[in-house]
Symmetry: C2
Protein backbone atom coordinates (compact mmCIF):
# COMPACT_ATOMS: atom_id res chain seq x y z
CA UNK A 1 0.00 0.00 0.00
CA UNK A 2 1.60 3.24 -1.17
CA UNK A 3 0.63 6.37 0.73
CA UNK A 4 1.23 10.10 0.82
CA UNK A 5 1.01 12.21 3.98
CA UNK A 6 -0.39 15.74 3.88
CA UNK A 7 -0.16 18.25 6.74
CA UNK A 8 -2.07 21.52 6.79
CA UNK A 9 -0.17 23.47 9.43
CA UNK A 10 -2.40 26.27 10.70
CA UNK A 11 -1.77 28.89 13.35
CA UNK A 12 -3.72 26.84 15.91
CA UNK A 13 -3.97 23.28 14.58
CA UNK A 14 -2.07 20.82 12.44
CA UNK A 15 -4.45 18.75 10.35
CA UNK A 16 -2.78 15.64 8.98
CA UNK A 17 -4.00 12.90 6.64
CA UNK A 18 -2.63 9.81 4.97
CA UNK A 19 -4.09 9.03 1.54
CA UNK A 20 -3.46 6.38 -1.06
CA UNK A 21 -0.80 7.54 -3.52
CA UNK A 22 -2.92 7.22 -6.65
CA UNK A 23 -6.38 8.57 -7.46
CA UNK A 24 -8.92 8.57 -5.96
CA UNK A 25 -6.55 9.19 -3.00
CA UNK A 26 -8.63 7.37 -0.40
CA UNK A 27 -8.34 8.65 3.15
CA UNK A 28 -6.47 6.07 5.27
CA UNK A 29 -5.72 8.03 8.44
CA UNK A 30 -6.49 11.48 9.81
CA UNK A 31 -5.47 13.41 12.95
CA UNK A 32 -5.36 16.91 14.40
CA UNK A 33 -2.82 18.28 16.91
CA UNK A 34 -2.24 21.73 18.34
CA UNK A 35 0.49 23.75 16.59
CA UNK A 36 3.57 24.85 18.55
CA UNK A 37 5.10 28.12 17.40
CA UNK A 38 8.57 29.12 16.24
CA UNK A 39 10.95 27.15 14.03
CA UNK A 40 11.59 24.41 16.58
CA UNK A 41 7.91 24.23 17.53
CA UNK A 42 6.65 23.99 13.95
CA UNK A 43 9.19 21.32 12.96
CA UNK A 44 8.37 19.38 16.15
CA UNK A 45 4.61 19.67 15.57
CA UNK A 46 5.00 18.42 12.00
CA UNK A 47 7.20 15.49 13.04
CA UNK A 48 4.77 14.53 15.83
CA UNK A 49 1.98 14.47 13.24
CA UNK A 50 4.05 12.41 10.80
CA UNK A 51 4.78 9.91 13.59
CA UNK A 52 1.09 9.79 14.58
CA UNK A 53 0.01 9.14 11.00
CA UNK A 54 2.66 6.49 10.44
CA UNK A 55 1.96 4.63 13.69
CA UNK A 56 -0.44 1.81 13.21
CA UNK A 57 -0.26 1.76 9.42
CA UNK A 58 -0.48 -1.70 7.83
CA UNK A 59 2.86 -3.53 7.68
CA UNK A 60 3.00 -3.23 3.88
CA UNK A 61 2.43 0.55 3.92
CA UNK A 62 5.07 2.66 2.20
CA UNK A 63 5.00 6.44 2.59
CA UNK A 64 6.14 7.90 -0.75
CA UNK A 65 6.03 11.56 0.22
CA UNK A 66 5.16 14.14 2.84
CA UNK A 67 3.62 17.49 1.91
CA UNK A 68 3.35 20.51 4.17
CA UNK A 69 1.03 23.49 3.72
CA UNK A 70 1.94 26.57 5.76
CA UNK A 71 0.35 30.02 6.11
CA UNK A 72 3.33 31.98 4.82
CA UNK A 73 5.39 32.76 1.75
CA UNK A 74 7.29 29.76 0.40
CA UNK A 75 10.02 30.63 -2.05
CA UNK A 76 12.93 28.48 -3.21
CA UNK A 77 11.75 25.88 -0.70
CA UNK A 78 12.11 28.21 2.29
CA UNK A 79 9.32 29.51 4.51
CA UNK A 80 9.19 33.22 5.34
CA UNK A 81 6.54 35.64 6.58
CA UNK A 82 4.58 32.93 8.41
CA UNK A 83 3.54 35.30 11.16
CA UNK A 84 0.83 33.04 12.63
CA UNK A 85 3.44 30.31 13.07
CA UNK A 86 5.92 32.65 14.77
CA UNK A 87 8.20 32.42 11.72
CA UNK A 88 9.06 35.82 10.33
CA UNK A 89 12.81 35.91 10.66
CA UNK A 90 15.34 33.90 8.66
CA UNK A 91 13.89 31.70 5.89
CA UNK A 92 13.25 28.20 7.28
CA UNK A 93 13.99 25.00 5.35
CA UNK A 94 10.94 23.33 6.84
CA UNK A 95 10.76 20.50 4.30
CA UNK A 96 14.44 19.67 4.83
CA UNK A 97 14.03 19.59 8.60
CA UNK A 98 10.93 17.38 8.45
CA UNK A 99 12.45 15.00 5.90
CA UNK A 100 15.60 14.69 8.05
CA UNK A 101 13.47 13.81 11.06
CA UNK A 102 11.26 11.37 9.10
CA UNK A 103 13.71 8.81 7.72
CA UNK A 104 14.49 10.94 4.67
CA UNK A 105 11.00 10.62 3.15
CA UNK A 106 10.83 13.16 0.26
CA UNK A 107 9.08 16.22 1.67
CA UNK A 108 7.69 19.28 -0.06
CA UNK A 109 6.43 22.52 1.42
CA UNK A 110 4.07 25.05 -0.12
CA UNK A 111 1.93 27.95 0.94
CA UNK A 112 -1.25 26.53 2.47
CA UNK A 113 -3.67 28.15 0.01
CA UNK A 114 -1.59 27.07 -2.99
CA UNK A 115 -1.51 23.53 -1.59
CA UNK A 116 -5.26 23.63 -0.96
CA UNK A 117 -5.74 24.51 -4.64
CA UNK A 118 -4.53 21.02 -5.53
CA UNK A 119 -7.06 19.66 -3.03
CA UNK A 120 -9.76 21.81 -4.63
CA UNK A 121 -8.82 20.49 -8.05
CA UNK A 122 -9.13 16.95 -6.72
CA UNK A 123 -12.62 17.77 -5.43
CA UNK A 124 -13.62 19.06 -8.88
CA UNK A 125 -12.25 15.86 -10.43
CA UNK A 126 -14.18 13.79 -7.88
CA UNK A 127 -17.31 15.63 -9.11
CA UNK A 128 -16.54 14.52 -12.66
CA UNK A 129 -15.22 17.89 -13.79
CA UNK A 130 -12.26 18.01 -16.17
CA UNK A 131 -11.40 21.62 -15.28
CA UNK A 132 -7.66 22.08 -14.92
CA UNK A 133 -7.63 25.88 -14.80
CA UNK A 134 -8.87 27.39 -11.58
CA UNK A 135 -8.34 29.75 -8.71
CA UNK A 136 -9.10 28.61 -5.20
CA UNK A 137 -10.15 31.67 -3.21
CA UNK A 138 -9.75 31.14 0.51
CA UNK A 139 -11.76 33.51 2.71
CA UNK A 140 -10.34 32.67 6.12
CA UNK A 141 -8.64 34.87 8.70
CA UNK A 142 -7.27 36.61 5.62
CA UNK A 143 -8.11 36.34 1.93
CA UNK A 144 -5.79 34.77 -0.61
CA UNK A 145 -5.99 32.70 -3.76
CA UNK A 146 -4.12 29.79 -5.26
CA UNK A 147 -3.83 29.62 -9.04
CA UNK A 148 -3.74 26.45 -11.08
CA UNK A 149 -3.22 27.59 -14.67
CA UNK A 150 -3.53 25.05 -17.44
CA UNK A 151 -2.94 22.27 -14.92
CA UNK A 152 0.09 23.82 -13.25
CA UNK A 153 0.26 25.43 -9.84
CA UNK A 154 1.41 29.02 -10.28
CA UNK A 155 4.02 29.78 -7.68
CA UNK A 156 5.13 33.14 -9.01
CA UNK A 157 8.51 34.80 -9.14
CA UNK A 158 8.63 35.28 -5.35
CA UNK A 159 6.09 32.68 -4.24
CA UNK A 160 3.44 35.39 -3.89
CA UNK A 161 1.03 34.53 -6.71
CA UNK A 162 -2.51 34.92 -5.40
CA UNK A 163 -1.58 36.98 -2.32
CA UNK A 164 -4.30 39.52 -2.97
CA UNK A 165 -5.26 40.24 0.66
CA UNK A 166 -3.09 43.33 1.01
CA UNK A 167 -4.04 44.99 -2.24
CA UNK A 168 -5.48 48.34 -1.29
CA UNK A 169 -9.27 48.16 -1.51
CA UNK A 170 -10.05 51.60 -0.07
CA UNK A 171 -7.18 54.05 0.43
CA UNK A 172 -9.33 56.01 2.91
CA UNK A 173 -10.06 52.87 4.92
CA UNK A 174 -8.84 51.87 8.40
CA UNK A 175 -5.25 51.04 9.25
CA UNK A 176 -4.33 47.42 8.52
CA UNK A 177 -2.00 45.47 10.85
CA UNK A 178 0.35 45.36 7.82
CA UNK A 179 0.89 49.11 8.18
CA UNK A 180 -1.12 50.34 5.18
CA UNK A 181 -4.71 51.53 4.90
CA UNK A 182 -7.78 49.81 3.54
CA UNK A 183 -6.35 46.43 2.50
CA UNK A 184 -8.87 44.05 0.91
CA UNK A 185 -8.46 41.68 3.86
CA UNK A 186 -9.93 44.29 6.24
CA UNK A 187 -13.31 43.87 4.52
CA UNK A 188 -13.36 40.49 2.80
CA UNK A 189 -12.26 38.02 5.45
CA UNK A 190 -13.24 36.43 8.72
CA UNK A 191 -10.99 38.82 10.64
CA UNK A 192 -12.50 41.72 8.73
CA UNK A 193 -15.96 40.75 10.01
CA UNK A 194 -14.72 40.04 13.56
CA UNK A 195 -13.04 43.42 13.96
CA UNK A 196 -16.47 45.03 13.45
CA UNK A 197 -19.06 42.46 14.50
CA UNK A 198 -19.27 40.27 17.61
CA UNK A 199 -21.55 37.50 16.31
CA UNK A 200 -21.46 35.04 13.44
CA UNK A 201 -21.71 36.01 9.79
CA UNK A 202 -25.21 34.50 9.70
CA UNK A 203 -26.23 36.78 12.57
CA UNK A 204 -24.67 39.71 10.72
CA UNK A 205 -26.92 39.02 7.73
CA UNK A 206 -29.98 38.65 9.99
CA UNK A 207 -29.25 41.95 11.74
CA UNK A 208 -28.73 43.68 8.41
CA UNK A 209 -32.05 42.33 7.14
CA UNK A 210 -33.71 43.62 10.34
CA UNK A 211 -32.58 47.16 9.61
CA UNK A 212 -29.33 47.42 11.60
CA UNK A 213 -27.43 49.94 9.45
CA UNK A 214 -24.00 49.07 10.82
CA UNK A 215 -24.64 45.40 10.09
CA UNK A 216 -25.82 46.28 6.60
CA UNK A 217 -22.64 48.26 5.89
CA UNK A 218 -20.36 45.46 7.19
CA UNK A 219 -22.37 42.90 5.21
CA UNK A 220 -22.16 44.96 2.02
CA UNK A 221 -18.42 45.55 2.42
CA UNK A 222 -17.86 41.83 3.00
CA UNK A 223 -19.96 40.92 -0.03
CA UNK A 224 -18.38 43.53 -2.31
CA UNK A 225 -14.87 42.70 -1.17
CA UNK A 226 -15.27 38.99 -1.96
CA UNK A 227 -16.99 39.80 -5.28
CA UNK A 228 -14.09 42.16 -6.07
CA UNK A 229 -11.57 39.39 -5.30
CA UNK A 230 -13.43 37.00 -7.62
CA UNK A 231 -13.59 39.65 -10.38
CA UNK A 232 -9.92 40.41 -9.93
CA UNK A 233 -9.07 36.74 -10.48
CA UNK A 234 -11.34 36.54 -13.52
CA UNK A 235 -9.94 39.68 -15.15
CA UNK A 236 -6.30 39.12 -14.27
CA UNK A 237 -5.75 35.45 -15.09
CA UNK A 238 -9.20 34.64 -16.52
CA UNK A 239 -9.45 31.19 -14.94
CA UNK A 240 -12.31 28.89 -15.92
CA UNK A 241 -13.39 28.42 -12.35
CA UNK A 242 -13.13 30.29 -9.06
CA UNK A 243 -13.60 27.79 -6.24
CA UNK A 244 -14.40 29.65 -3.04
CA UNK A 245 -13.71 28.19 0.38
CA UNK A 246 -13.47 29.31 4.00
CA UNK A 247 -15.59 29.22 7.13
CA UNK A 248 -17.44 32.51 6.73
CA UNK A 249 -18.54 31.57 3.18
CA UNK A 250 -19.34 27.93 3.94
CA UNK A 251 -21.45 28.83 6.97
CA UNK A 252 -23.46 31.64 5.38
CA UNK A 253 -25.71 30.78 2.42
CA UNK A 254 -27.00 34.37 2.40
CA UNK A 255 -23.44 35.59 1.80
CA UNK A 256 -23.02 33.24 -1.16
CA UNK A 257 -26.29 34.48 -2.64
CA UNK A 258 -25.30 38.12 -2.12
CA UNK A 259 -21.92 37.56 -3.81
CA UNK A 260 -23.58 35.92 -6.82
CA UNK A 261 -26.15 38.73 -7.02
CA UNK A 262 -23.39 41.33 -7.06
CA UNK A 263 -21.48 39.43 -9.76
CA UNK A 264 -24.63 39.03 -11.86
CA UNK A 265 -25.31 42.75 -11.50
CA UNK A 266 -21.95 43.39 -13.21
CA UNK A 267 -23.25 41.41 -16.19
CA UNK A 268 -25.44 44.35 -17.19
CA UNK A 269 -22.51 45.59 -19.30
CA UNK A 270 -21.31 44.15 -22.60
CA UNK A 271 -17.89 43.27 -21.17
CA UNK A 272 -19.54 41.87 -18.05
CA UNK A 273 -21.72 39.54 -20.14
CA UNK A 274 -18.68 38.31 -22.06
CA UNK A 275 -16.84 37.73 -18.78
CA UNK A 276 -19.76 35.81 -17.24
CA UNK A 277 -18.02 35.74 -13.90
CA UNK A 278 -20.94 34.49 -11.76
CA UNK A 279 -21.15 31.25 -13.70
CA UNK A 280 -17.49 30.48 -13.01
CA UNK A 281 -18.00 30.42 -9.24
CA UNK A 282 -18.12 27.13 -7.32
CA UNK A 283 -18.27 26.70 -3.54
CA UNK A 284 -16.12 24.07 -1.89
CA UNK A 285 -18.31 22.16 0.58
CA UNK A 286 -17.72 22.86 4.29
CA UNK A 287 -15.44 20.27 5.85
CA UNK A 288 -13.67 19.23 2.64
CA UNK A 289 -10.03 18.63 3.68
CA UNK A 290 -8.62 20.53 0.70
CA UNK A 291 -5.67 21.89 2.69
CA UNK A 292 -4.32 18.57 3.95
CA UNK A 293 -5.28 16.68 0.77
CA UNK A 294 -3.57 19.29 -1.39
CA UNK A 295 -0.48 19.09 0.81
CA UNK A 296 -0.44 15.31 0.30
CA UNK A 297 -0.70 15.85 -3.46
CA UNK A 298 2.37 18.12 -3.46
CA UNK A 299 4.43 14.93 -3.54
CA UNK A 300 2.63 13.73 -6.67
CA UNK A 301 3.02 17.23 -8.12
CA UNK A 302 6.77 17.12 -7.58
CA UNK A 303 7.02 13.70 -9.21
CA UNK A 304 4.88 14.98 -12.10
CA UNK A 305 2.88 11.79 -12.00
CA UNK A 306 -0.48 13.54 -12.12
CA UNK A 307 -2.21 12.65 -15.37
CA UNK A 308 -3.14 16.23 -16.24
CA UNK A 309 0.48 17.31 -15.87
CA UNK A 310 1.34 15.84 -19.28
CA UNK B 1 14.60 35.51 -47.12
CA UNK B 2 11.86 34.32 -44.77
CA UNK B 3 9.62 37.00 -43.30
CA UNK B 4 6.71 37.47 -40.94
CA UNK B 5 4.19 40.29 -41.21
CA UNK B 6 2.74 41.94 -38.12
CA UNK B 7 -0.22 44.35 -38.12
CA UNK B 8 -1.23 46.38 -35.10
CA UNK B 9 -4.78 47.40 -36.01
CA UNK B 10 -5.76 50.40 -33.91
CA UNK B 11 -8.96 52.42 -33.87
CA UNK B 12 -7.34 55.09 -36.07
CA UNK B 13 -4.28 53.55 -37.71
CA UNK B 14 -2.99 50.20 -38.93
CA UNK B 15 0.72 49.90 -38.23
CA UNK B 16 2.30 47.12 -40.27
CA UNK B 17 5.81 45.70 -40.35
CA UNK B 18 7.69 42.91 -42.09
CA UNK B 19 10.47 41.33 -40.06
CA UNK B 20 12.87 38.48 -40.64
CA UNK B 21 11.40 35.21 -39.42
CA UNK B 22 14.18 34.36 -36.97
CA UNK B 23 15.75 36.40 -34.18
CA UNK B 24 16.77 39.19 -34.07
CA UNK B 25 13.71 39.82 -36.29
CA UNK B 26 15.22 42.65 -38.32
CA UNK B 27 12.77 45.24 -39.63
CA UNK B 28 12.50 44.90 -43.41
CA UNK B 29 9.48 47.08 -44.22
CA UNK B 30 7.11 49.31 -42.26
CA UNK B 31 3.94 51.25 -43.14
CA UNK B 32 0.95 52.97 -41.57
CA UNK B 33 -2.54 53.32 -43.07
CA UNK B 34 -5.79 54.70 -41.70
CA UNK B 35 -8.19 52.07 -40.29
CA UNK B 36 -11.62 51.62 -41.88
CA UNK B 37 -14.34 50.47 -39.45
CA UNK B 38 -16.75 47.54 -39.44
CA UNK B 39 -16.03 43.95 -40.46
CA UNK B 40 -15.58 44.71 -44.15
CA UNK B 41 -13.54 47.83 -43.40
CA UNK B 42 -11.18 46.10 -40.97
CA UNK B 43 -10.60 43.11 -43.26
CA UNK B 44 -10.01 45.49 -46.19
CA UNK B 45 -7.63 47.67 -44.18
CA UNK B 46 -5.65 44.62 -43.12
CA UNK B 47 -5.46 43.23 -46.67
CA UNK B 48 -4.38 46.63 -48.03
CA UNK B 49 -1.58 46.68 -45.49
CA UNK B 50 -0.53 43.10 -46.31
CA UNK B 51 -0.40 44.03 -50.00
CA UNK B 52 1.60 47.19 -49.24
CA UNK B 53 4.12 45.25 -47.15
CA UNK B 54 4.46 42.49 -49.75
CA UNK B 55 4.88 44.84 -52.71
CA UNK B 56 8.48 45.51 -53.52
CA UNK B 57 9.88 42.70 -51.35
CA UNK B 58 12.98 40.96 -52.78
CA UNK B 59 12.18 38.19 -55.28
CA UNK B 60 13.36 35.50 -52.87
CA UNK B 61 11.15 36.74 -50.01
CA UNK B 62 8.76 34.22 -48.51
CA UNK B 63 6.09 35.36 -46.05
CA UNK B 64 5.72 32.57 -43.48
CA UNK B 65 2.95 34.12 -41.44
CA UNK B 66 0.73 37.11 -40.81
CA UNK B 67 -0.19 38.21 -37.30
CA UNK B 68 -2.94 40.67 -36.37
CA UNK B 69 -3.30 42.55 -33.10
CA UNK B 70 -6.74 44.06 -32.48
CA UNK B 71 -8.21 46.12 -29.63
CA UNK B 72 -10.90 43.62 -28.63
CA UNK B 73 -11.50 40.24 -27.08
CA UNK B 74 -10.16 37.35 -29.15
CA UNK B 75 -11.50 33.97 -28.17
CA UNK B 76 -11.42 30.72 -30.11
CA UNK B 77 -9.91 32.73 -32.97
CA UNK B 78 -12.87 35.09 -33.23
CA UNK B 79 -12.87 38.83 -32.54
CA UNK B 80 -15.61 40.31 -30.35
CA UNK B 81 -16.06 43.48 -28.32
CA UNK B 82 -13.70 45.52 -30.56
CA UNK B 83 -15.74 48.69 -30.10
CA UNK B 84 -13.09 51.05 -31.51
CA UNK B 85 -13.07 49.02 -34.73
CA UNK B 86 -16.85 49.05 -35.02
CA UNK B 87 -16.94 45.32 -34.28
CA UNK B 88 -19.22 44.48 -31.41
CA UNK B 89 -21.77 42.20 -32.95
CA UNK B 90 -21.22 38.66 -34.21
CA UNK B 91 -17.78 37.18 -33.59
CA UNK B 92 -15.56 37.84 -36.64
CA UNK B 93 -13.11 35.28 -38.04
CA UNK B 94 -10.65 38.03 -38.93
CA UNK B 95 -7.65 35.74 -39.35
CA UNK B 96 -9.60 33.46 -41.68
CA UNK B 97 -10.76 36.37 -43.81
CA UNK B 98 -7.27 37.87 -44.07
CA UNK B 99 -5.63 34.54 -44.85
CA UNK B 100 -8.24 33.85 -47.55
CA UNK B 101 -7.48 37.22 -49.12
CA UNK B 102 -3.71 36.79 -48.85
CA UNK B 103 -2.99 33.61 -50.80
CA UNK B 104 -3.67 31.40 -47.80
CA UNK B 105 -0.70 32.61 -45.76
CA UNK B 106 -1.16 31.26 -42.20
CA UNK B 107 -2.67 34.09 -40.18
CA UNK B 108 -3.17 34.48 -36.45
CA UNK B 109 -5.14 37.08 -34.53
CA UNK B 110 -4.76 38.13 -30.92
CA UNK B 111 -5.80 40.96 -28.66
CA UNK B 112 -3.42 43.87 -29.33
CA UNK B 113 -2.04 44.11 -25.79
CA UNK B 114 -1.44 40.36 -25.60
CA UNK B 115 0.35 40.52 -28.96
CA UNK B 116 2.39 43.52 -27.77
CA UNK B 117 3.52 41.43 -24.81
CA UNK B 118 5.47 39.23 -27.23
CA UNK B 119 6.99 42.42 -28.68
CA UNK B 120 7.87 43.58 -25.17
CA UNK B 121 9.49 40.22 -24.45
CA UNK B 122 11.56 40.61 -27.61
CA UNK B 123 12.68 44.05 -26.41
CA UNK B 124 13.80 42.55 -23.10
CA UNK B 125 15.71 39.86 -25.00
CA UNK B 126 17.31 42.51 -27.18
CA UNK B 127 18.51 44.15 -23.95
CA UNK B 128 20.19 40.89 -22.96
CA UNK B 129 17.53 39.92 -20.41
CA UNK B 130 16.54 36.28 -20.07
CA UNK B 131 13.23 37.09 -18.38
CA UNK B 132 10.42 34.92 -19.73
CA UNK B 133 7.80 35.81 -17.15
CA UNK B 134 6.29 39.24 -17.47
CA UNK B 135 3.25 41.43 -17.69
CA UNK B 136 3.11 44.18 -20.27
CA UNK B 137 0.94 46.95 -18.85
CA UNK B 138 -0.42 49.21 -21.57
CA UNK B 139 -1.60 52.62 -20.39
CA UNK B 140 -3.26 53.90 -23.55
CA UNK B 141 -6.82 55.04 -24.16
CA UNK B 142 -7.66 52.34 -21.65
CA UNK B 143 -5.50 50.22 -19.36
CA UNK B 144 -4.90 46.51 -19.89
CA UNK B 145 -2.15 43.98 -19.43
CA UNK B 146 -0.77 41.04 -21.35
CA UNK B 147 0.64 38.13 -19.36
CA UNK B 148 3.50 35.95 -20.45
CA UNK B 149 3.83 33.31 -17.74
CA UNK B 150 6.83 31.00 -17.78
CA UNK B 151 7.33 31.80 -21.46
CA UNK B 152 3.74 31.25 -22.53
CA UNK B 153 1.21 33.90 -23.46
CA UNK B 154 -1.75 33.60 -21.10
CA UNK B 155 -4.94 33.84 -23.11
CA UNK B 156 -7.36 32.88 -20.38
CA UNK B 157 -10.55 30.87 -20.47
CA UNK B 158 -12.42 33.59 -22.40
CA UNK B 159 -9.50 35.52 -23.89
CA UNK B 160 -9.82 38.12 -21.14
CA UNK B 161 -6.62 37.57 -19.16
CA UNK B 162 -5.16 40.98 -18.28
CA UNK B 163 -8.35 42.96 -18.98
CA UNK B 164 -8.09 44.88 -15.73
CA UNK B 165 -9.39 48.24 -16.96
CA UNK B 166 -12.95 47.69 -15.84
CA UNK B 167 -12.19 46.38 -12.39
CA UNK B 168 -13.91 48.74 -10.00
CA UNK B 169 -11.33 51.08 -8.50
CA UNK B 170 -13.73 53.37 -6.60
CA UNK B 171 -17.38 52.32 -6.30
CA UNK B 172 -18.30 55.95 -5.50
CA UNK B 173 -16.52 57.20 -8.63
CA UNK B 174 -17.99 58.62 -11.85
CA UNK B 175 -20.03 56.63 -14.35
CA UNK B 176 -17.89 54.72 -16.86
CA UNK B 177 -18.96 54.39 -20.53
CA UNK B 178 -19.17 50.64 -19.74
CA UNK B 179 -22.16 51.34 -17.49
CA UNK B 180 -20.54 50.83 -14.10
CA UNK B 181 -18.99 53.30 -11.66
CA UNK B 182 -15.37 54.04 -10.87
CA UNK B 183 -13.60 51.60 -13.23
CA UNK B 184 -9.79 51.68 -12.99
CA UNK B 185 -9.62 52.96 -16.57
CA UNK B 186 -11.37 56.21 -15.54
CA UNK B 187 -8.29 57.16 -13.50
CA UNK B 188 -5.32 55.26 -14.86
CA UNK B 189 -5.39 55.87 -18.61
CA UNK B 190 -4.99 58.52 -21.27
CA UNK B 191 -8.77 58.86 -21.59
CA UNK B 192 -9.00 59.15 -17.81
CA UNK B 193 -6.69 62.18 -17.90
CA UNK B 194 -8.37 63.70 -20.97
CA UNK B 195 -11.85 63.59 -19.45
CA UNK B 196 -10.58 65.86 -16.66
CA UNK B 197 -7.63 67.81 -18.09
CA UNK B 198 -7.26 69.66 -21.40
CA UNK B 199 -3.46 69.68 -21.71
CA UNK B 200 -0.73 67.05 -21.80
CA UNK B 201 0.20 64.88 -18.86
CA UNK B 202 3.46 66.83 -18.52
CA UNK B 203 1.43 70.05 -18.19
CA UNK B 204 -0.77 68.31 -15.63
CA UNK B 205 2.27 67.56 -13.49
CA UNK B 206 3.56 71.14 -13.88
CA UNK B 207 0.19 72.60 -12.85
CA UNK B 208 0.01 70.26 -9.87
CA UNK B 209 3.50 71.31 -8.79
CA UNK B 210 2.42 74.96 -9.09
CA UNK B 211 -0.37 74.46 -6.60
CA UNK B 212 -3.37 73.72 -8.86
CA UNK B 213 -5.42 71.47 -6.56
CA UNK B 214 -7.54 69.94 -9.32
CA UNK B 215 -4.41 69.06 -11.24
CA UNK B 216 -2.87 67.58 -8.11
CA UNK B 217 -5.91 65.38 -7.54
CA UNK B 218 -5.98 64.15 -11.16
CA UNK B 219 -2.22 63.54 -11.04
CA UNK B 220 -2.48 61.60 -7.78
CA UNK B 221 -5.38 59.49 -9.07
CA UNK B 222 -3.46 58.71 -12.27
CA UNK B 223 -0.34 57.78 -10.31
CA UNK B 224 -2.20 55.68 -7.75
CA UNK B 225 -4.29 53.95 -10.39
CA UNK B 226 -1.25 52.84 -12.39
CA UNK B 227 0.58 51.83 -9.19
CA UNK B 228 -2.51 49.83 -8.21
CA UNK B 229 -2.52 48.09 -11.60
CA UNK B 230 1.15 47.17 -11.21
CA UNK B 231 0.55 45.90 -7.65
CA UNK B 232 -2.45 43.91 -8.80
CA UNK B 233 -0.29 42.16 -11.42
CA UNK B 234 2.46 41.50 -8.89
CA UNK B 235 0.12 40.06 -6.26
CA UNK B 236 -2.15 38.12 -8.59
CA UNK B 237 0.31 36.38 -10.95
CA UNK B 238 3.58 37.52 -9.31
CA UNK B 239 5.42 38.05 -12.59
CA UNK B 240 9.16 38.81 -12.51
CA UNK B 241 8.74 41.96 -14.53
CA UNK B 242 6.03 44.52 -15.24
CA UNK B 243 6.91 46.29 -18.46
CA UNK B 244 4.90 49.50 -18.71
CA UNK B 245 4.11 51.14 -22.04
CA UNK B 246 1.78 53.78 -23.47
CA UNK B 247 1.98 57.42 -24.52
CA UNK B 248 1.07 59.06 -21.24
CA UNK B 249 3.77 57.10 -19.39
CA UNK B 250 6.43 57.39 -22.10
CA UNK B 251 5.96 61.15 -22.42
CA UNK B 252 5.95 61.97 -18.71
CA UNK B 253 9.10 61.20 -16.72
CA UNK B 254 7.52 62.83 -13.65
CA UNK B 255 4.70 60.26 -13.80
CA UNK B 256 7.18 57.39 -13.92
CA UNK B 257 8.97 58.81 -10.87
CA UNK B 258 5.70 59.30 -8.99
CA UNK B 259 4.61 55.71 -9.71
CA UNK B 260 7.94 54.34 -8.46
CA UNK B 261 7.74 56.54 -5.35
CA UNK B 262 4.28 55.19 -4.56
CA UNK B 263 5.40 51.59 -5.07
CA UNK B 264 8.49 52.15 -2.88
CA UNK B 265 6.27 53.66 -0.20
CA UNK B 266 4.41 50.32 -0.05
CA UNK B 267 7.72 48.66 0.80
CA UNK B 268 7.51 50.05 4.33
CA UNK B 269 5.68 46.85 5.31
CA UNK B 270 7.19 43.39 5.76
CA UNK B 271 5.07 41.92 2.95
CA UNK B 272 5.83 44.94 0.77
CA UNK B 273 9.57 44.42 1.20
CA UNK B 274 9.22 40.74 0.26
CA UNK B 275 7.19 41.71 -2.80
CA UNK B 276 9.68 44.37 -3.92
CA UNK B 277 7.34 45.55 -6.62
CA UNK B 278 9.17 48.76 -7.61
CA UNK B 279 12.24 46.84 -8.68
CA UNK B 280 10.18 44.70 -11.07
CA UNK B 281 9.06 47.70 -13.13
CA UNK B 282 10.60 48.43 -16.54
CA UNK B 283 9.50 51.12 -19.00
CA UNK B 284 9.27 50.26 -22.69
CA UNK B 285 10.96 53.09 -24.65
CA UNK B 286 8.67 55.44 -26.55
CA UNK B 287 8.38 54.46 -30.20
CA UNK B 288 9.20 50.78 -29.74
CA UNK B 289 6.92 48.93 -32.20
CA UNK B 290 5.93 46.29 -29.65
CA UNK B 291 2.37 45.99 -31.03
CA UNK B 292 3.27 45.23 -34.64
CA UNK B 293 6.39 43.24 -33.72
CA UNK B 294 4.42 41.13 -31.27
CA UNK B 295 1.73 40.56 -33.91
CA UNK B 296 4.46 39.34 -36.31
CA UNK B 297 5.73 36.99 -33.60
CA UNK B 298 2.27 35.39 -33.18
CA UNK B 299 3.16 33.25 -36.19
CA UNK B 300 6.31 31.99 -34.49
CA UNK B 301 4.30 31.46 -31.31
CA UNK B 302 1.81 29.29 -33.16
CA UNK B 303 4.59 27.21 -34.71
CA UNK B 304 6.23 26.93 -31.29
CA UNK B 305 9.60 27.62 -32.86
CA UNK B 306 10.56 30.20 -30.27
CA UNK B 307 13.56 28.93 -28.32
CA UNK B 308 12.09 29.67 -24.88
CA UNK B 309 8.95 27.69 -25.72
CA UNK B 310 10.74 24.38 -25.07
Amino acid sequence: MKLRLGLDIGGTTVHGIAVTAEEPHDLVREATHPTRKGAEGVVGSALDMVAALRSGLPADAEVLSIGLGVPGIVHAGAVTHAINLGLDGDPLDLAGAVSAGADGIPTAVENDVKAATLGGLQWLRDQGSDIDDLALLNVGTGIAAGLLLDGRLRHGSRGMAGEIGHLVHDPTGPLCPCGRRGCLELYASGSGVRRQWAGTAAELFEAADSGNLDAARIRDELTSGIAQAISLLAYSVDVSCVLVTGGVVSATPALRNAILAELRNAESTSLGRLAGIAERVRWLPAGHPAGALGAALLGAEDEEVRPWRS
